[in-house]
């Protein structure tokens, strides 16, 4: 059996390759995702290990919950004396960390896209310094000296002895560059820029007078870190903890991996779509192959092969295709990982380059998915093959080995109901208890089932759809057009499955188009309504913010009536992370229309929280209620609801607190800097004059952009567009797989129609007419796929947009031009997919073709 299967495979190398290709791309996507995220994780794990090298114990304030944003509050300086008094402590030193943005020699801010801009204090004791080492110059001393990392210095031509501008929460100031540091062999820490001051200066610049961010400890010889940790812990005051630095390194790496987990999941979802599409293609291919080999398989039955053996033969062929495709796919994963890295860099998220990691998990998952999908997709056709009665071999009859239309309709309709039900339950879901399924999973599975249902049901509409789409063809291209339509509908199921593979990718593209357009329209509309400020100053890049000193500068200007600073942070909302925006309540009425439903902004300034009306009505909260909010720095707090508001797209969160409350409950990196400052111009001052003032103030900081209302709206829309481009780029692979599917099906169909094509050529069809005939057919299949995709995508887009109403997506906007563009895309895709099959058909040897059995 194995030998027979092998022979069959090698007799059809192209078919093998095309079939395997779809699996290959799917597996490559999965493997690439794993390699990509594993590589990032490895980079950061190494980084944290290095950072804590040589240190034994870290003393820091207890964090109530761990998030990537912010951290524990600082500890009092006096804790250091306590620690030094513990037995077994060889050395201990306090440190101060915070936000520090370095400028190049032209005064331009050096903004790494992605990695943070780290400010740190110099560690005096050699035993505690970790892997940080001076490459050149000396350590910083006094309030005017700074040391920076070798990468930042080298890239920007910053030399020892020159003045370097650095922005901290204290503002922008010039420092003398006295030294350059490296980190072990590395010139920087995973792309971050680092500015190091002496401890006292760092404390002053980062707002930590009399405080340390943490205290690092090294043990006496012979004292284990665990023992020392326990000893110190006993001596510490309440609210301060001691952790082994190895644990801390691990914890930090884990926290980072967790925050990257979203990326991993998102990529895997796109990979799953690609694999799903590949499964369609494989199933279709094996069905066609089995049909073409019906006589051969029946002959095997006639000479004594059991049905089981026939299943085996097809299954073995699938197994070999699956293994081959998975192995190549895993290897191609490195290419995908490279593309992902390049793609992330293109949207402004640089990932430090290290050697790619191939975990055993990647290989195992790749093989299981690749082989599994191929086998599962091939097994139905194989079982059908086994049912071919031996007599078929002798009589040359076409055995019907498929579901009847009626059963197909019933089965497809049931699936459609289940799929749509799951989506609805997931989206609007309090009504039905989904059990272990979470809402997103329900929607995802529902979508897959809808795809299956549509592919089953679409064979019923393919003939009419093809005739509608194809109606101009006979007019454009008389006979070849007529034949193309006829060929597209002669095996409606084959056409339906082939088109469905393309449908999946294009449905998701259409869905993202609609969702993206709706988000843009909603955001635009509500920014127009909600933004009173004339100008918005917001931070460039993803990490950190900018010094609050900028807002202070502006407040002093007579052209400026008011500024409102906004800071963003995470809090623990009963076990899930939620956003909160710290907002300057005193001035918010002048800059942002909060659409207050009840309560007062004055109360917000005095402490308490504002809740968005949708959340409030969902939870049944009213002004005067008290909710529990968990903060990393201060733990669980009872906070009174002092207002309900309706604005959503300027403040971007469902919870608002006053700036003072925010400062009291947040600390650590990225929480002490402003995220946005909204600026209202003074009455009687021209917009140009105000703008000039704001621009001038902003220019000093460099890492911010000033936008007026229109520009701000456009920038928000542009963010949505960036996401759209990313998602659609990730869907390209699924679409490419579908194109290979069309190509493969066409090739196999042409192979079946060899005699017919030979006949047409004999009675006078030219090669170019033959090519045109195949091309038209291919275009029809692709356009059918595009139309099915648009229909399904419209459904997804409409229901998801409706479900997001509570998230501020109030407008349903369907971008007709982009959606129609998908039909054009279908035409182009069909043309591309037809190139190889059309050439093969046109180059058939007429004589061999007409005498082909």
């Amino acid at each position: 059996m194995i030998r027979t299967a092998l022979k069959t495979i090698f007799a059809h190398k192209l078919r093998l390759f095309l079939t395997a290709l779809s699996v290959m791309i799917g597996v490559a996507f999965i493997a690439g995702t794993f390699i990509f995220t594993d590589t990032i994780n490895q980079t950061f794990t190494d980084l944290f290990d290095d950072q804590f090298a040589g240190q034994d114990v870290i003393v820091q304030a207890e964090a109530e919950f761990d998030v990537g944003f912010g951290g524990p509050p600082p500890v009092e300086e006096s804790v250091l004396d306590t620690v030094l008094g513990v037995q077994g402590v060889a050395a201990a030193e306090g440190s101060a960390g915070g936000f520090a943005l370095i400028y190049d020699s032209n005064g331009e801010a050096i903004v790494p896209t992605g990695p943070p801009t780290i400010g740190a204090s110099w560690t005096e004791d050699e035993r505690l310094i970790g892997n940080i080492a001076l490459r050149d110059g000396r350590a910083p001393t006094g309030p005017t000296e700074v040391v920076i990392d070798a990468k930042t210095a080298g890239d920007n031509g910053l030399a020892i002895g020159t003045a370097v501008k650095v922005q901290t929460v204290d503002g922008v100031a010039e420092y003398e560059l006295v030294g350059i540091v490296g980190f072990g062999d590395a010139d920087n820490i995973a792309g971050a820029t680092v500015a190091v001051f002496d401890l006292e200066t760092a404390q002053a610049l980062f707002g930590l007078e009399g405080m340390y961010s943490a205290i690092t400890v090294v043990a006496d010889e012979g004292v284990s870190p665990e023992l020392l940790r326990n000893n110190i812990a006993l001596a510490l005051p309440e609210g301060v903890e001691a952790v082994a630095s190895a644990d801390e390194a691990e914890a930090q790496a884990e926290a980072l991996q967790e925050s990257l987990g979203f990326l991993n999941t998102a990529l895997l979802v796109f990979a799953a779509v690609a694999v799903f599409v590949a499964a369609f293609i494989i199933q279709n291919t094996f069905r066609i192959i089995v049909r073409q080999r019906q006589r051969e398989l029946a002959l095997m039955r006639a000479v004594g092969a059991t049905g089981g053996q026939v299943v085996w033969m097809v299954a073995i062929e699938a197994l070999i295709v699956g293994i081959f495709a998975s192995v190549v796919g895993i290897a191609l994963g490195f290419v995908i990982a490279g593309l992902l890295t390049a793609g992330m860099a293109a949207v402004g998220f640089d990932i430090p380059s290290t050697s790619a990691s191939l975990a055993p998990r990647t290989i195992v998952v790749g093989l299981i998915v690749g082989v599994g999908v191929t086998l599962v997709a091939a097994i139905l056709p194989a079982i059908r093959a086994a049912r071919i009665p031996p007599v078929a071999a002798l009589q040359d009859v076409d055995v019907r080995l498929r579901m009847s239309d009626r059963r197909r309709t019933i089965f497809g309709s049931i699936l459609l109901v289940i799929g749509v039900g799951l989506i609805m339950a997931g989206l609007f879901g309090d009504v039905i208890d989904l059990g272990p399924l979470n809402e997103l999973t329900a929607v995802g599975i529902g979508a897959l089932i809808v795809f299956l249902a549509v592919s089953l049901l679409s064979s019923l509409v393919v003939p009419s759809l093809a005739r509608i789409i194809g109606w101009p063809l006979p007019k454009i291209d008389n006979l070849t057009g007529t034949l193309a339509i006829a060929n597209a509908v002669r095996k409606p199921r084959r056409t339906a499955t082939t088109a469905s593979a393309l449908m999946i990718g294009l449905a998701l593209v259409a869905f993202f188009f609609i969702l993206g357009d709706s988000i843009k329209a909603s955001v635009s509309e509500s920014i127009e309504a909600g933004l009173r400020a004339d100008y918005v100053v917001s931070v460039d890049g993803f990490a950190g913010g900018f010094s609050p000193a900028l807002a202070e500068d502006l407040k002093g200007q007579e052209e400026v009536e008011a500024t409102t600073s906004l800071r963003m942070g995470f809090w623990d909302n009963n076990g899930t992370e939620d956003f909160v925006m710290g907002i300057e309540a005193e001035t918010v009425d002048q800059t942002i229309f909060l659409d207050v439903q009840s309560g007062s902004v004055a109360a917000l300034a005095a402490g308490g929280v504002f809740v968005h009306e949708d959340v409030a009505s969902e939870e049944g909260w009213v002004v005067g209620d008290t909710i529990l909010m968990g903060f990393a720095a201060t733990g669980l707090q009872e906070v009174e609801i002092v207002g309900i508001y309706g604005e959503q797209n300027v403040v971007q969160t469902n919870f608002l607190v006053g700036l003072e409350f925010y400062e009291a409950n947040f600390s650590g990196f990225g929480t002490d800097t402003d995220f946005v400052v909204a600026v209202a111009g003074a009455d009687g001052v021209s917009p140009e004059e105000t703008r000039a003032v704001v621009d001038e103030a902003a220019a000093e900081y460099g890492n911010v952009t000033v936008r007026d209302q229109v520009e701000y709206r456009e920038s928000q829309e542009a963010q949505v567009d960036t996401l759209l481009v990313m998602f659609n780029a990730l869907l390209i692979l699924a679409v490419i797989i579908a194109l290979f599917g069309i190509m493969n099906t066409l090739s196999l169909s042409i192979y079946e129609r060899t005699r017919e094509i030979g006949l047409l050529r004999a009675v006078g069809m030219t090669r170019s007419q033959t090519r045109r005939m195949i091309r038209w057919e291919s275009i029809m299949v692709a356009v059918i796929g595009a139309i099915l995709g648009i229909v399904v995508g419209l459904f997804f887009g409409v229901v998801v947009t409706a479900a997001l109403k509570s998230q501020g997506i109030n407008v349903l906007s369907i971008p007709a031009v982009q959606i129609f563009g998908l039909v054009i895309f279908g035409v182009v895709a069909g043309l591309l997919a037809a190139i190889v099959p059309a050439r093969r058909a046109a180059n058939l040897n007429i004589l061999e073709a007409i005498s082909y059995e």
Partner: protein, 248 residues
């Protein structure tokens, strides 16, 4: 002698045609210096035992296959001088085909199949001629049917109608009645003979069936790739006697 006749009276001719398949030890001379001419308005059958090269001869004259050496003319056109496109156009305009089986495009109706060469060319049909052909063949009530809904005899008659409808210079038939029962075969062959007699059509037919061959005006015998004689106004008995000389 045939060669002496003016070329304009000939629908097709082959001159010193040789066709070699394979190389070295596996070399097969399917045609070995064949010269033959086919007059206009005549019904010629080509006969010979299996492997005699009769199908190869037909394919080469019809422009479906290329000679290794020698020339083939359809009318005055030297097929060797034509590229694939012009050869295709020549087949479309000047040549008709009836194959043994699978003559029809399954997705097209009988009418569309009959009009196939005209549809491919984008030419207008000659309604009167179409009706006449269809009428003679008794296909009038079958025109909207798909090939799968036609009997074997009807399918071959549709093929014959297709070959005739574009009024080609010459029709090549390759065992046209080979798959038919004797009644259907007789109907088809009779029609083909009427096409020659009544409409002046030229037909060249390959067959191994003496009865089929007896419908022709002339039979050319082929053996081992060479012309092995000819027979005029044959009867099936004459053919059977002649065939007995082969392979003996």
């Amino acid at each position: 002698m045939l060669e002496a006749k003016p070329a304009t009276d000939l629908a097709a001719r082959i001159s010193d045609g040789t066709k070699i398949y394979g190389e070295g030890d596996t070399e097969v001379r399917a045609l070995d210096g064949v010269s033959e001419a086919f007059e206009k308005g005549r019904y010629t059958a080509i006969m010979g035992p299996s492997g005699s090269g009769k199908s190869t001869l037909l394919h080469c004259i019809a422009g479906l296959d290329e000679l290794t050496s020698g020339q083939v003319y359809i009318g005055d056109t030297d097929l060797g001088s034509l590229n694939d496109k012009n050869l295709t156009l020549l087949r479309r305009k000047k040549v008709g085909f009836v194959f043994q089986s699978f003559n029809l495009v399954p997705t097209l109706s009988a009418k569309e199949n009959i009009l196939l060469p005209l549809l491919i060319a984008g030419d207008k049909e000659d309604n009167a001629w179409f009706d006449q052909v269809v009428g003679i063949l008794g296909l009038g009530d079958r025109l909207s049917h798909r090939p799968s809904e036609l009997s074997g005899g009807q399918q071959q008659r549709v093929a014959a109608a297709r070959a005739l409808v574009s009024r080609p210079d010459i029709i090549f038939a390759d065992e046209p009645s080979g798959n038919l029962d004797s009644k259907s075969a007789a109907e088809l062959l009779d029609f083909m003979r009427r096409a020659v007699r009544e409409f002046g059509q030229t037909i060249v037919m390959v067959t191994h069936d003496p009865v089929a061959a007896s419908y022709a005006d002339r039979i050319v015998f082929l053996e081992d790739g060479r012309i092995a004689g000819e027979m005029h106004d044959p009867t099936s008995e004459m053919v059977i006697d002649r065939m007995k000389q082969f392979g003996g």
